[in-house]
Subunit: 159 residues, 2 copies
DNA sequence: CCATTTAGTTTCATTATAAAACCACACTGA
DNA sequence: TCAGTGTGGTTTTATAATGAAACTAAATGG
């Protein structure tokens, strides 16, 4: 289909989705978190068509979220690994996962548990935290546009 | 295009994306967070085609993320509002926003600031928090599959 | 009661995805 | 070293999701 790009929108959510909002992007990134690196691994575990995987990996690479490197085991094949920018998507993945566990639970319970490696203690529901690190209820959350953003919205509304 | 459904995957991220992973879904939910409720509001502010908006709102409504209710101002039109399930997507939106602010920043700075309504204090970078409420570095995060999930993965691998 | 707004639906063109076939190169074992 | 298999794609074709525009019917406002 035709597809409207979000990249020019003055909204950080939109610009993020422009990179990772495609149908398979998050799934690929998720599997990269699990340690997958090879084309075939992604392809078989996700059941994605090879041409689509090829296109998504190209997008993710160009966006600086993944990087194609020579195989660290010495073969002449390549590996796709997450960059720092890619690893930083982890909070998004965790939020998606915790929402799914809560609202579309699997019969046999949460398939994956997150743990603090040091303490071995399970990672709690994240929600939204204040500077104290406490979860705040959604009624207590407000937002404020920056002056620059306000101006852009005004201009748009004037059309 | 044809599109593979994620709904049956034993992965909470996949099942979540099956509902909100479509091109415009998050954007609609985001604008609902901002207080938009009317068909025309979404349509004009997002610049989305009306038939697509219609389809997405139908999906979101059937998924229980939004709800169509009679206009609370008394007119005979309708409003689309977030359900509890929908409001609970806020952590995902915040994670997307904070990633965008960090890695694809807008020239004029972050367009939107999140605040604690009570204290007026800005909401910090969320990251991933332990039970103490402290951000943990990504090296300290591990994951563990549930026995049920392991079994499913084994079965799939055996094919 | 007329003009405009709202909330869609319908139609048609375009393009992303899917599935399958195809291909070149790398590796492996005998 | 040579055959057979594995890897990482590309190409081709079909289909369905998106996008744009025209159209409709009811609601609203004056």
């Amino acid at each position: 289909m035709k597809r409207t790009s979000f990249s020019e929108m003055p909204c950080s959510v939109a610009r993020t989705l422009d990179h990772v909002g495609h149908w398979w992007s998050f799934m690929i990134v998720r599997n990269a978190f699990y340690g997958q690196t090879r084309f075939r691994e992604f392809q078989e575990s996700l059941g994605i068509a090879k041409n689509i995987l090829s296109a998504r990996l190209k997008d993710l690479t160009e966006a600086g979220i993944m990087k194609k490197i020579p195989d660290r085991n010495g073969s002449k094949y390549s590996e796709y690994i997450l960059t720092e920018k890619g690893w930083d998507l982890q909070p998004v993945l965790v939020a998606l996962m915790q929402w799914g566990d809560k609202w579309e639970p699997h019969e046999s319970g949460p398939p994956l548990e997150l743990l603090d490696k040091r303490s071995g203690i399970s990672i709690p529901y994240q929600g939204i935290r204040n500077t104290e690190g406490d979860v705040i209820p959604r009624e207590e959350l407000t937002s404020r546009f920056s002056p620059a953003a306000k101006e852009m919205l005004m201009k748009k509304a004037a059309e």
